[in-house]
């Protein structure tokens, strides 16, 4: 898994790539907590280049989503899902829970 972070004007953008399985998902969770610990509760995650997202990845996304949305202070939104990630979110009933955008620009602009 590779991960980069960009602080935008109104939100923080994460770009993730590669395989996010149980061996690396804790690192994703740690990076997301680093952002929320600094008070960055408006987050966009671009998942275009994620080749595989396991349930461990979903757990980290759900945990961060809950932290961001607490007291209505922000949100965690997803962008550019590829077919594999889309399928996993669909099977777990999460597609209707996360706000999902076709493009990174739309997701960033939604804040």
């Amino acid at each position: 898994m590779e991960l980069s972070t960009v602080d935008m004007k109104r939100c923080t953008l994460f770009r993730i790539s590669g395989r996010v399985d149980g061996s690396v998902a804790p690192e994703l969770g740690s990076q997301l907590r680093s952002a929320t610990d600094l008070g960055k509760y408006k987050i966009v995650i671009n998942m275009q280049d994620v080749t595989y997202a396991s349930s461990a990845c979903l757990r980290e996304l759900i945990g961060a989503w809950k932290t961001c949305r607490r007291w209505n202070r922000g949100d965690l939104r997803l962008a550019e899902l590829n077919s594999n990630v889309d399928k996993v979110l669909d099977l777990t009933g999460l597609k209707s829970q996360f706000m999902i955008f076709d493009t990174e620009a739309e997701a960033v602009g939604s804040f």
């Binding site: 395989r19 399985d21 149980g22 061996s23 595989y52 396991s54 349930s55 461990a56 979903l58 757990r59 759900i62 945990g63 989503w65 809950k66 949305r69 594999n84 399928k87 996993v88 099977l91 777990t92 009933g93 999460l94 829970q97």
Partner: protein, 160 residues
């Protein structure tokens, strides 16, 4: 009738999940599994092995034995470990109707395995440990596994 079988045995941790994925990917390719089904199989095995390393072995290194075989048009995967006994009844299915705020985190791996495969059966014996058998129906080209890649020939030995 079994027409194709591959096995992998390792003492591993979560860090070995990519290696297990490569094994399954290679086995699916050699067995001629329909490409559309490969992602489902890969994911189900990854979730199964994640559970073994995290729950059965409590994140310590442990032995896992995997087999991947075709039975007519079906692909059957077994995962055996000798960690703590796993009781699937103790894992409640995630309630998709609940808003995410109220949904407990967990149980998604088992849920995915059941959605992605046609049969998922767990058993435990003190002697043989945990055994998981998962099947995907109608995805193997019956009796016609893809040919294995040709191995490089060794240079002929010189006669002395």
């Amino acid at each position: 009738m079994t027409s194709f079988r591959r096995e992998l045995q390792l003492v591993g941790t979560m860090a070995d999940l990519p290696r297990i994925g490569e094994f399954i990917e290679g086995a699916c390719e050699q067995a001629g599994i329909a490409p559309a089904a490969r992602f489902d199989i890969l994911m189900a095995v990854d979730e199964a092995c994640s559970n073994v390393f995290e729950h059965a072995y409590c994140c310590l290194a442990g032995e896992v034995h995997l087999s991947c075989e075709t039975r007519d048009e079906d692909l059957v995967i077994t995962v055996r470990d000798h960690g703590r006994a796993f009781n699937p009844e103790g894992v409640p299915a995630p309630d998709m109707g609940l808003p995410l705020e109220e949904r407990p985190i967990g149980g998604l791996g088992l849920h995915l395995m059941r959605r992605l495969m046609d049969d998922v059966t767990f058993s435990f014996s003190p002697e043989h440990g945990n055994l998981l058998v998962m099947a995907k129906r109608g995805v193997a080209m019956a009796g016609a596994p893809a040919p294995r890649p040709a191995r490089a020939r060794k240079p002929a030995e010189r006669k002395k």
